[in-house]
Amino acid sequence: MKPSRLGKQLSALLFSAGWLGPFVFQVALLDIDICGPSIPKMMGLEGEQVHQSGSGWSPVYVEENLGVMSVGFLLSSPDDAVIWRGPKKNGLIKQFLRDVDWGEIDYLIVDTPPGTSDEHLSIVQYLSAAHIDGAVIITTPQEISLQDVRKEINFCHKVKLPIIGVVENMSGFICPKCKNESQIFPPTTGGAEKMCQNLNVSLLGKVPLDPQIGKSCDKGQSFLSEAPESPATSSYRNIIQRIQEYCDQRHFQEDSTIYEWNKNEVHV
C-alpha cells in the first residue's frame, strides 16, 4: 500500500520477483492501481493480453511461478487513460478477485494506488473473508511523506488490517564518483525509523536510491538480477525475508489457535 509514487509498485514487483528463489513459491501480483497501472511496463509485459478460459481469466505469467494481473493488460494501448469513478473501479477489482484463475498460490501481493479511497476500502472488504496477512507501507524519509504514512497506518487500524511493517525507500544516495552519501529526501523529523518507534510499527528496512532501479523499471527488467551487488538489492532481499518470517509466524499462530480450539472441542 500506500502514499504517492514512493516506489510502491516497484517494491511490489521486487517482492514478487525476490520470492522466487531460492525456494520456489507460487506468487501472484495483482495491480489495482486502475488509473496508473505501471506493473506491465515494469515487468516487460507491455502488449500482453489476458486470455479467458472455462476456469476464468488467466493471469499473465512472467515466470512459471509468477503470475500478474493488471488493468494495463485490458487496454488496447498502454497510453489509454482510464478515467473512471469509484463504482466502476470497484467493479473491476471485484472481477479481478472473482474471475481470475490464480491457481494454487503461496503469496498474493496486491499493489494499491496512492491514498485511502475506493480501491483500498474495496480490497479490504472483498478480501476480509480471506484474512489479509498484512500491509506493507512504503515511504520516503521526508516529513511530507511520513504525514501521509501516519494516516495510512491509522487507516489500517480502523479497518483492522495488520501492519507487517514500513519500508523507507529512497533512503540516501551514494555518488557513483566520490561515494559521498547524500540525503536527497532528508529525514528532517527522524525519518521512518523515528515514526515507527513512536507508532510501535516495525521498520522492515531502508532502501537506498540507485539510478539502476529506475533504468531496470523502464526497460522491464528485474533489478535484482541486473544489479545483484547493489546495496539496494541486499536491502530488498532482507525486507522480503522479514515479510516471509512475519507471514510464517502468523500462520503458525493461527494453526496453533485452531489446534487449541479443536482440543477444547474434544474435551467438551
Binding site: S117, C175, I184
Partner: protein
C-alpha cells in the same frame, strides 16, 4: 418501371432533394435511376456529415446528465497541477508557484485544515466529490486573479469532478523523467484532452542531482524523458527543476524555497515556470 420510382422515393427520404451524385443520376433517366439504386449509399460526403450530426446529437443528449460548469465567484482563472503518477512533486511545485503568481497575498484551502493531522480520510468517490464541491464553492476566496488547484495523482473522481464543475483556464502536468511516470503523465494529458481542458505544458521535476561534494551530476530518475514526451504530444516544456536537498528541506519546514531562498537556482526555476504559465494562459474574462 416502378423500380426507379421506388429507388427515388427511398433516396429522397434519406438525402436532401437534389443533393449528391445519386440524385443527379436519378434525374438523368431510367438507366441512371437504376445506377443510383445500385449505389444508393455511395455519397460519402453527405454520410460523413450525417454521422457527425448524429455524433453531436448523441453527445448533447449524454451531456444532459453531466454537471454544468459554473465559474467560482470572484476567481478569474483556475490553473490545475496534475501528474497522473503520484510522488512527482505536484504539491511542492504548487506551493512554490503560488508565490510568484500572487497579487494580493495567499489564501489556501485544504482538507488538511479541517481534520487532525494523522486522521485518514477514507472516503469513497461520492463523498470525495461532495468535499471537492464544498472546497471549491463554499470557501470565501475573495477576488482572485489565479486559483491554483493541486490535484491528487490519477485520473479518477477528483479530476473528473473538478473538470466538470468549473471552467479551467489551463492544466500543467508535472512528471519525473522516468518512463513509468511519463506513462501516467501521458494518460493525464489524454484525460484533459477528453474533458476539453487546455494543457499549458509539462514540467520536468527531479531531473538531475548534483553531488554536494564533487559536483558530479547524476540523472537518478532518467534524463530528458519529459522533453521527449512533450515533443511527442506537441506540448511545451515550462521548466526543469533539479533534485535539490534544499527544496525538500524547506518544504518540510513550511518555508517554500521561493520564499526562504529566492536567489537559489531552484527558486529561479520555479519563478520561470510561473512566468511561462501566465504567458500561456488566455486573457482573463472581464
Amino acid at each position: 418501371m416502378g423500380s426507379p420510382a421506388w429507388c427515388w422515393a427511398l433516396r429522397a427520404a434519406r438525402f436532401p432533394v437534389g443533393g449528391g451524385r445519386a440524385g443527379r443520376a436519378l434525374r438523368s433517366g431510367p438507366s441512371g435511376g437504376f445506377a443510383a439504386c445500385a449505389a444508393p449509399f455511395a455519397d460519402s460526403a453527405s454520410s460523413s456529415s450525417r454521422d457527425e450530426a448524429l455524433r453531436d446529437k448523441r453527445a448533447r443528449i449524454l451531456s444532459r446528465g453531466l454537471p454544468k460548469q459554473k465559474p467560482i465567484a470572484g476567481v478569474k482563472q483556475v490553473v490545475v497541477l496534475a501528474s497522473g503518477k503520484g510522488g512527482v512533486g505536484k504539491s511542492t511545485t504548487a506551493e512554490n508557484l503560488m508565490r510568484p503568481l500572487k497579487n494580493y497575498g495567499i489564501t489556501c484551502m485544504s482538507m488538511g485544515f479541517l481534520i487532525e493531522e494523522t486522521a485518514p480520510v477514507v472516503w469513497r468517490g461520492l463523498m470525495v466529490m461532495s468535499a471537492v464541491e464544498k472546497l471549491l464553492r463554499q470557501v470565501d476566496w475573495g477576488q482572485l486573479d489565479y486559483l491554483v488547484i493541486d490535484m491528487p495523482p490519477g485520473t479518477g473522481d477528483v479530476q473528473l469532478s473538478v473538470s466538470q464543475n468549473i471552467p479551467i483556464a489551463g492544466a500543467v502536468i508535472i512528471s519525473t523523467p522516468q518512463d513509468v511516470a511519463l506513462l501516467d503523465a501521458r494518460k493525464g494529458a489524454e484525460m484533459f484532452r477528453k474533458v476539453h481542458v487546455p494543457v499549458l505544458g509539462l514540467v520536468q521535476n527531479m531531473s538531475v542531482f548534483q553531488c554536494p561534494k564533487c559536483k558530479h551530476e547524476t540523472h537518478i530518475f532518467g534524463a530528458d524523458g519529459v522533453r521527449d514526451l512533450a515533443k511527442t504530444l506537441g506540448l511545451d516544456i515550462l521548466g526543469d527543476i533539479p533534485l535539490h536537498v534544499n527544496i525538500r528541506e524547506t518544504c518540510d519546514s513550511g518555508q517554500p524555497v521561493v520564499i526562504s531562498q529566492p536567489q537559489s537556482d531552484a527558486a529561479k526555476a520555479y519563478l520561470k515556470i510561473a512566468m511561462e504559465i501566465v504567458r500561456r494562459l488566455p486573457s482573463p474574462p472581464v
